[in-house]
């Protein structure tokens, strides 16, 4: 095993992690501020990808497609927040699970109704295709590198927004004491709608960015949703910093596990058995990681009391 390969795999893990962060950031904000478990977050990811594919097919511009994904997911977010979600804030988690599960059904089959049953085409822009040679002779995809950069920029932007801006202060206040900020004259329902729209837009952006190198199809949001939940639980629910750490941990564990575990087992087992056992264990690895972390830190890595 060469170091170059290890370096490339680490970059892959990082890229996977920052994309998970885009999903997880919204999820953890929505949970932290409004106390809502939103299973339909994966649907917003799908909405973003489909909107981008539709826009790209119509105009041929990737930038317009990205904007479309942000706008469409934010609009979808605002719509469901105003019609459904806001009635759920004072309900218990069970009602939220059932209601947002119902939203998944509506979104998935609704999308299939509008766009048909076959996967759509969405490609990265030509100026981001191909590879670039990094220091130490690591050859890496330009697009994936840009994903890492975009992810880090979004993370910095979020941290800045929460630390420095008026809305960020309100969000932090909302996480600490919901009644208090209402009493202070902040329009809570507008704040909630804005937070939800922000989370939705981030999910939609992730959907479009990932859709360009994966398959844009109905149901694409569900596996990512589960992973995003794993991420926010590992990081500690409500904590953006925790989500970032959790996302990168999950990304690295998954990518490196898939790569290293079969090789590790090859040392003790015969090759075909080693691939099979190693791959099985690799697909379980992030769940083992999560269970392990929760056993020692029942509130996640950065979770409060």
């Amino acid at each position: 095993m060469s170091l170059i390969l290890l370096a490339e795999q680490t970059l892959n893990g990082l890229q996977f992690g920052v994309m998970l962060f885009l999903m997880a950031a919204g999820l953890t904000l929505i949970f932290g501020v409004m106390g809502l478990i939103n299973l339909a977050h994966g649907s917003l990811y799908m909405v973003g990808a489909f909107a981008a594919a539709g826009m790209a097919a119509a105009t041929g511009s990737f930038m317009l497609a990205l904007i479309a994904s942000l706008v469409a997911a934010a609009i979808a977010g605002v719509l469901i927040e105003m019609t459904v979600i806001r009635r759920l804030y004072d309900r218990d988690h069970l009602d939220q699970v059932l209601a947002t599960f119902a939203l998944i059904l509506i979104f998935s089959e609704g999308t299939r109704w509008v766009f048909g049953s076959f996967p759509l085409f969405l490609d990265k822009p030509s100026f981001l295709s191909g590879t670039v040679t990094l220091p130490f002779n690591v050859e890496y995809s330009v697009y994936r590198l840009s994903l890492i950069v975009v992810g880090i920029l979004v993370a910095i932007g979020l941290f800045w927004m929460i630390a420095k801006t008026r809305i960020g202060i309100r969000i932090r206040a909302g996480e600490n004491d919901r009644e208090m900020i209402g009493a202070l004259g902040v329009d809570i329902s507008r704040l909630y709608t804005m937070v939800f729209a922000l989370g939705a837009a981030l999910a939609g952006l992730a959907g479009a960015l990932i859709g360009a190198i994966q398959s844009v199809q109905v149901g694409m949001g569900e596996p990512v949703l589960i992973l995003a939940f794993v991420v926010i639980v590992i990081g500690g629910i409500g904590s953006i910093k925790g989500a970032l750490i959790g996302a990168i941990l999950v990304g690295l564990t998954d990518t490196l596990g898939r790569f290293l575990l079969p090789q590790a087992f090859a040392l003790i087992l015969e090759p075909s058995q080693a691939t099979s056992v190693g791959s099985s264990l690799a697909s379980m690895s992030i769940y083992i990681l999560m269970a392990g972390i929760l056993l020692f830190r029942p509130k996640g890595l950065l979770g409060g009391a």
Partner: protein, 327 residues
């Protein structure tokens, strides 16, 4: 006679009525649907024991449903191929006998529930939801990639297993078996809920310190509830596998956990009969809406949404009114 008791009676009558009517009109598929509803109801009653009485929101009950299913699949598979399950250190053979399979399903689920419960109960709230999901996902991916019992393809059993004195392949007789078990489980859960254990469990849910003050450890109460809950769901898994004569990792997927949870919420959390109503309604909706259009799941979603938003406390909350503090 409270509204709730009346509703329970109506539900039971409805089950029997539908099955008998279908039997008389020679519509075996309707009997199969009723059987499926009864089995899902058992699974829901199981989850409700942890979720409704203990406040333990498990998003991983598919583990027990799947383990029960695989208990049936593996035992029957070995009986079918005349191969022993274990040769060393002592020989274990497969079996086709339903009561034996049920016992194995219950015991295996209970043992696994002790493990998962003991670990998961270190957390609470949303973390508990997610750690139970994590355990379920581990079992799911393990089952997919473990080739001995079919992996993703699952295991197919040719004929339903045997129950002394009955022809289990006859839909109405199999319905009778499952429905009787549902009634037994309901009776057991009703008694357990009103026993001193049940009262302590609910008390612990509301105020842990008070329970500690009278000399009980909430952890033990919760773990017991979780194990009983898992064992009941395991039994349902074995019955479901026999209904289809087939098991596969689908039983272990998070969709299954979600569906079982939906039966509970739809019917009414914490009501003994709630999941029965929930499972029956869900299967009825699936059956009726499935005929409407290719995109029937949109309607299903809309109806579920309507129930959550406008019928607080599920069907039982809607019809029998909100739960009174003590009953």
């Amino acid at each position: 006679m409270k509204k709730e008791t009346l509703l329970n009676a109506v539900l039971i009558a409805l089950f029997v009525g539908v099955a008998l009517a279908a039997w008389i009109m020679d519509e075996p598929y309707l009997i199969t649907l009723a059987t499926k509803a009864a089995i899902f109801a058992i699974a829901g009653v199981g989850l409700n024991f942890a979720l409704g009485f203990g406040g333990l929101v498990s998003f991983g009950h598919a583990v027990f449903f799947g383990l029960g299913g695989y208990a049936m699949g593996i035992l029957a598979f070995h009986a079918q191929t005349y191969t022993p399950i274990l040769e060393w250190p002592f020989a274990i053979n497969g079996t086709r006998s339903m009561p034996v399979i049920w016992c194995v399903a219950i015991v295996v689920s209970a043992v696994v529930a002790v493990g998962i419960g003991a670990l998961s109960l270190r957390t609470n709230g949303v973390y508990f939801i997610m750690i139970t999901l994590a355990f379920a996902q581990m079992f799911y991916y393990f089952a997919i990639s473990w080739p001995t019992y079919g992996g993703e393809d699952g295991l197919s059993i040719y004929v339903r297993n045997e129950f002394p004195g009955l022809n289990t392949m006859d839909p109405i007789q199999y319905f009778a078996i499952c429905f009787t078990l549902l009634l037994l489980v309901l009776f057991f859960v009703h008694r357990a809920a009103h026993s001193s254990f049940g009262l302590l469990l609910r008390a612990a849910r509301q105020n842990e310190e008070r329970v500690q003050a009278v000399g009980h450890t909430p952890f033990r109460l919760y773990l017991t509830a979780f194990v009983i809950s898992g064992a009941i769901t395991g039994l349902a898994g074995a019955l479901f596998a026999d209904l289809n004569r087939f098991v596969s990792p689908t039983l272990l997927s998070w969709h299954t956990s979600g569906e079982i949870m939906i039966f509970v919420i739809l019917g009414g959390v914490g009501r003994v009969f709630g999941p029965v109503a929930g499972a029956a309604l869900f299967i009825l909706l699936e059956y009726v809406l499935g005929g409407l259009s290719e995109f029937w799941q949109i309607y299903l979603g809309a109806i579920l949404l309507g129930v959550v938003l406008f019928a607080r406390g599920g069907l039982y909350g809607l019809i029998a009114g909100r739960e009174v503090a003590h009953d």
